[in-house]
Amino acid sequence: MSDIRLPSLGADMDAATIVSWCVAPGDAVQKGDLLGEIETDKGVFDLDSREAGVVAALLVAPGTKVTVGTPIVRLQEAVPVPTAAAPEAPEAPEAPEAPEAPEAPEAPEAPEAPEAPEAPEAPAAPEAPAAPSALAAPAAPPPSPSPHHPHVSPLARRIAAEHGLDLAGVTGTGVQGAITQADVARALAARDDATPAAPTGAPVPTPASAHTPATIVDGMRRAVAAAVTRSKRDIPHYYLEHDVDLHAALAWLARHNADRPITERVLPAALLVRATVQALARVPELNGVHEHGAFTPSSAVHVGIVTALRGGGLVAPVIADAQTHSLAELNAALLDLVQRTRAGALRTSELGGGTISITNLGDRGVRAVHGVIYPPQVAIVGFGAIADRPWAVDGMLAVRPVVTITLAADHRVSDGIRGAQFLADIGRRLQAPEDA
């Protein structure tokens, strides 16, 4: 038995409403399968399973708003999946049988297959079930990054809930830094000041899925506001920028794309992301999360791609393990993410767990973007427009496609020199894109 808890889709989310379930008790689910839909301040998202197993119970009724970390689905022990049995049983015909026996009494069946070739020890039974559970184990609870839970007094929590106030950005002044009634009152006053009296009155939490597009945008604005406020309040940013000549990179890309169908052509943005991801391997203090007063570097690069939504607001869906992607895969992932973001078809698993973010305002023509770090991350890389600029080459003036790459990084974790090395490394990699 294990519980799937409501995941945090970012530091600015602390609750969501269960819109619907698309599984029922008894259904077997694999990691990544759709469980249902949830609605946050940022919209409606597909909730995909982070574990495999059989749904034992749906713990939250549709229409219920629950906080991050609340158990929402109870899973029973994962059923052995076909791939699980296959490597274990060399006898080809036996293999398919194992998965068909998901019920409890699999023990008596399983021993028959593997036991024959082995020594006829009596207590072989425990070994057989061990295989499936061992397989299930890694798929089981991936310790989800526990969201930071500040102390909130019961009264403050109640009042905040009554007014639909997101406590993420509220500073506590009470015992042990707890958020008190007074802190909530201040935050409510600030919010009311910030949202010039809409005739509909204060945006009160709407039960169930009664969010109109307008209230989603309001919620989105609040969520973005909470995240950037927290970022600018808590994170001492430092900023660097670095101009990079993309002459070689774009020339290589043109050759690379020349003999490929349009659908497989690589975008310049993918090259930039690829170089960024690779450069991060050498500057671990820019890739990870800073929580509870300590920085945890990440060996994997989960890169959040800051994306504007049509209706307003931002999300930063994550390409997980970007360091393992080839250029073509990265390109495809980027296209896919942007399309699905615009279509409102993002999955919950794509909205959290980023270790760094990339923002690209180049297609709007700006030269440079100085980003706001998305907490609890510690760095954000920005790309401006790739534009022809005068550029000194071998003592002569040339016209080259140049991009300004910026870095905003958390000075608690890294220093400017490391950021400078990082940007220079990106620049170097872009001079030799064929190695990418």
Partner: protein, 350 residues
């Protein structure tokens, strides 16, 4: 209830009207108040008599019954042997037999010798007799520390008695309550224990006319406030009020002070009503913290007013040691004003 929130603690001596007969406010000491209450009860009801160690010829170890032997004679002021179990048991028997005894025990520590009689007999008879047999006994005893009487005479065990169903536990903290609580205690058909804090006997205070008396099972807001509720009783009331005044003067914190008066049953409504307005509570109890009356009050607040709380509950209790003899150690072991201030201040942030 707010109208009752006068501060009856010693203040600048006011000219006291000298005729106790007139229905006006009179001023007296806590000791005199208890004595007047006993005298009044003995005049009012011939079934009332006093029994205990040294209550007659000696006048009581705290001189509460001084002079009553002359007035009422040895039949009604009965000196007993030094055997708490015997004379408390005799008192219970007399009550069952139709009398209205007032049994005095020197200190709550000594009452443990009579705990069997109090708990296994007085508190159970009505229940075990199927409602046939009330035990209308009143047992008075001294409680509390502060007089260097060390670890066998100084404890505050009223919270133990407040644990026992079948008993009514009263803690008169003011001169008025000392004067007025005895009569309804005697009128109660069931056993009532009155706990008189040893430090209160010399305190002077006003006693308003009897019709101003708030029923003895109600807690009283002794000081109105809106920032934090201080719940206390008995000997701790005066210093809790002093702390409240300091908080107002030094910190601008307006503390509401509740005098429980009745430790069993507890007047939950008054406590919860206050906490729901102030959103914070500190309990000041001379008893030990572990398994105490303060724990009971804190639990009830948490059970019933959790979502009104804006800060953790706090308690100010005696140090968990046998009460020391040495004066500085005794004072260090007892709840003090500074300790109350230190408990309250962090809770009230703005």
């Amino acid at each position: 209830m707010a109208e009752q929130a006068q501060a009856p603690m010693p203040s600048a001596a006011a000219p006291a009207p000298e005729s106790p007969a007139t229905p006006a406010t009179v001023r007296m000491t806590y000791r005199e108040a208890v004595r007047e209450a006993i005298r009044e009860a003995m005049h009012a009801d011939p079934r009332v008599f006093v029994m205990g160690e040294d209550v007659g010829a000696y006048g009581g170890c705290y001189a509460v019954t001084k002079g009553l032997l002359t007035e009422f004679g040895p039949e009604r002021l009965r000196d007993t042997p030094l055997s708490e179990s015997a004379f408390v048991g005799a008192g219970i028997g007399a009550a069952v037999g139709g009398m209205r005894p007032i049994v005095e025990i020197m200190t709550v520590n000594f009452s443990l010798l009579a705990l069997d009689q109090i708990m296994n007999t007085a508190a159970t008879f009505l229940h075990m007799s199927g409602g046939q047999c009330n035990v209308p006994v009143v047992i008075r005893m001294t409680t509390g520390a502060g007089r260097q009487l060390a670890a066998q005479h100084s404890h505050s065990l009223e919270g133990w008695y407040a644990h026992i169903p079948g008993l009514r536990i009263l803690a008169p903290a003011t001169v008025e309550d000392a004067r007025r609580m005895l009569a309804p205690a005697l009128a109660d058909p069931d056993p009532v224990l009155l706990f008189e804090h040893a430090l209160l006997y010399n305190v002077s205070g006003d006693v308003p006319p009897a019709d101003a008396f708030v029923p003895f099972d109600r807690a009283i807001v002794r000081r109105a406030g809106h920032d934090v509720t201080l719940v206390t009783y008995g000997g701790m009331l005066a210093r809790t009020l002093e702390a409240a005044e300091r908080l107002a003067a030094d910190d601008g914190i307006e503390a509401e002070v509740i005098d429980l008066r009745s430790l069993r049953p507890l007047d939950e409504a008054t406590i919860l009503d206050s906490v729901r307005r102030t959103h914070r509570a500190v309990i000041v109890d001379e008893g030990w913290r572990s398994g105490s009356l303060s724990a009971e009050i804190a639990a009830r607040i948490a059970e019933q007013a959790f979502f009104d709380l804006d800060a953790p509950l706090r308690r100010v209790c005696s140090a968990e040691v046998p009460m020391p003899y040495a004066r500085h150690l005794e004072q260090a072991a007892l709840p003090q004003v500074d300790g109350i201030l230190a408990a309250v201040r962090p809770l009230v942030t703005r």
